[in-house]
């Protein structure tokens, strides 16, 4: 049984200048324990797909199945890591990490214990009493990661979570994510516009077309051995070969997406 299954998902938004179809007839599945990256040109509706999986957005047509069950309302089996800052600024790092447990009514002392444990696991031991504004961008992302993982969701939805970080911090975070993931192999949908990031992390890369009416135009299994080091694996011949192949299939769409964005800006 697949963890996530899209069956001809279409999302249409009503806007000022008529309706806009962000994604069209998308069918896609993610197996249990599979790490799938979704790449595509900017503004192609990648986040829309993730929001549909999370249950934050209802598709205009089509169904989403989570472990075989049609999704209605918020997806309680998924954790979501957003691209933008999502920590509650009025809560310290520890209070942010334990928020989900608190909402579930977990005992305060128990929540604190598990929170400290997760802070240590993402490398934030001793920073529990810091408020988000007192942390660096990388530390905030670690806190977000712990905040999501402490609830142990079987599905992880990640929307360009590391795009705001500098290259070094980013590779560090990617390695740590892989390490945490390999411990219990959750199903992951990882959205990114960075093909290298997608290949180095995933079991499979899905390439989306440019919008409007985004749909998958290619799927590429990534047969690189695990465990991987994201910085080193980029230099292997197999990686370069895969990168080459996927890039060729993407290139046209990226240019199309770029041209559309340019037209939209100049219009």
């Amino acid at each position: 049984m697949n963890a996530v299954e899209f069956d001809r998902i279409t999302c249409t938004f009503a806007g000022a200048g008529g309706s806009y179809t962000a994604v069209k007839e998308v069918s896609l599945s993610v197996a249990q324990g599979e790490f799938v990256s979704v790449v595509g040109p900017t503004g192609c509706g990648k986040s829309t797909l993730l929001n549909v999986t999370a249950g934050l957005l209802r598709p205009s047509s089509g169904t989403v199945r989570i472990f075989g069950e049609p999704l209605s309302g918020i997806n309680r089996k998924a954790g979501y890591m957003f691209q933008a800052e999502a920590l509650m600024p009025w809560r310290s790092a520890l209070e942010n990490v334990t928020a989900g447990l608190e909402f579930r009514g977990v005992d305060r002392a128990e929540a604190k214990r598990r929170g400290e444990e997760w802070l240590a696991r993402v490398g934030l031991a001793g920073f529990g009493d810091r408020y988000p504004h007192q942390m660096s961008g990388g530390m905030r992302k670690r806190a977000s990661l712990a905040q999501m993982l402490i609830l142990d969701p079987p599905i992880l939805l990640m929307d360009e979570p590391f795009s705001a970080l500098d290259v070094q911090t980013r590779q560090l975070m990617e390695n740590e994510l892989l390490e945490l993931w390999s411990a219990d192999r959750k199903s992951v949908i990882f959205i990114t516009h960075d093909l290298e990031e997608a290949i180095s992390l995933s079991d499979r890369v899905v390439v989306l077309s440019a919008g409007p009416g985004t749909h998958p135009i290619g799927e590429f299994p990534i047969d690189l051995p695990r465990p991987r080091d994201v910085a080193e694996i980029r230099l292997t011949p197999r990686f370069i070969e895969l990168h080459d192949r996927i890039w060729h299939s993407m290139k046209e769409e990226v240019l199309k997406g770029y041209a559309q964005t340019k037209n939209r800006v100049s219009a």
Partner: protein
């Protein structure tokens, strides 16, 4: 430099009072403008006599009762006004229908000069503290209300979605996202709203009461005792400064999670 500035500020203050004393002391300046040498003192008072009045107030203890009444009215007006503004702001901020219904009334009520309500409040609540509290409440309410309303509208949708994904229900969202966010807006308007509560209290006392610093001023004015009027104004000014200082301290304590300019780290 900062220390020196402090000294110069004191020097300037002394110079102002010195000049004031020189220009108003009967017989000191030749009567070029007024034919009566006492006239300047009659209109502008004499600092020496003003300070004598203040000295007497504090040494014989008559002022404390009045200060206490004014403080009590200010605190009550602020507390009640802020609570009502917070509740109403949350409600209208979260309910578009209610907001649309009340919008013209809120605008009208805010545009109305609230001081004209003072006589009505006298009739309703008598000459005691409650008519002054009511006047202060009408002033504080709108400041807090508009801030909270704005605060609710501007809650980050990412933080909101993240909290939903962490499993918060509607009540938990209100308690853990909307309320803290709104409270921070209340505090950001704290200086203005406490100032308004103070204005309400003093104006109310001035218009009719048997206690409070505003009452002292009104009594002295009735007797053409300009020195006592100025003494009252100086005491009120000092009192307002103390109040503002207390607010600044409270603000610093309660909003530790808020970034101050120097503390914020770039991403």
């Amino acid at each position: 430099m900062k220390r020196r500035m402090w000294i110069w500020q004191l020097v300037l203050l002394a110079a102002i009072f010195g000049l004031w004393q020189l220009l108003t002391q009967p017989g000191l300046v030749p009567p070029v403008f007024w034919d009566n040498p006492d006239r300047a003192a009659f209109f502008f008072g004499e600092p020496v006599k003003i300070f004598r009045v203040i000295w007497d107030w504090f040494t014989d203890g008559t002022i404390y009762r009045h200060l206490w009444i004014t403080l009590l009215e200010t605190v009550l007006a602020f507390g009640i006004g802020a609570a009502l503004g917070l509740a109403m702001g949350l409600w209208l901020g979260l309910s578009p229908a209610a907001s649309a219904l009340f919008d013209p009334y809120i605008t009208a009520a805010n545009a109305m000069p609230r001081v004209v309500l003072a006589p009505i409040f006298m009739v309703w609540f008598g000459l005691g503290i409650w008519s002054k509290v009511a006047l202060g409440v009408t002033l504080v309410f709108f400041i807090v209300f508009f801030n909270v309303y704005q605060g609710v509208k501007e809650v980050s949708p990412v933080v909101l979605n993240n909290t939903v994904m962490l499993g918060a229900n509607r009540r938990q969202l209100l308690r853990h996202v909307y309320l803290p966010s709104a409270t921070s807006w209340v505090f950001s308007s704290l200086h203005v709203s406490v100032g308004m509560a103070f204005v309400g209290a003093v104006v109310g006392e001035y218009l009719g009461s048997a206690n409070g610093v505003g009452y002292l001023i009104q009594q002295a004015e009735g007797a053409f005792d300009i020195n006592t009027v100025f003494a009252g104004i100086l005491v009120l000014t000092a009192f307002a400064l103390v109040l503002d200082f207390a607010v600044a301290r409270a603000e610093k304590k309660l909003l530790v999670w808020r970034p101050s300019q120097s503390e914020t780290e770039p991403l």
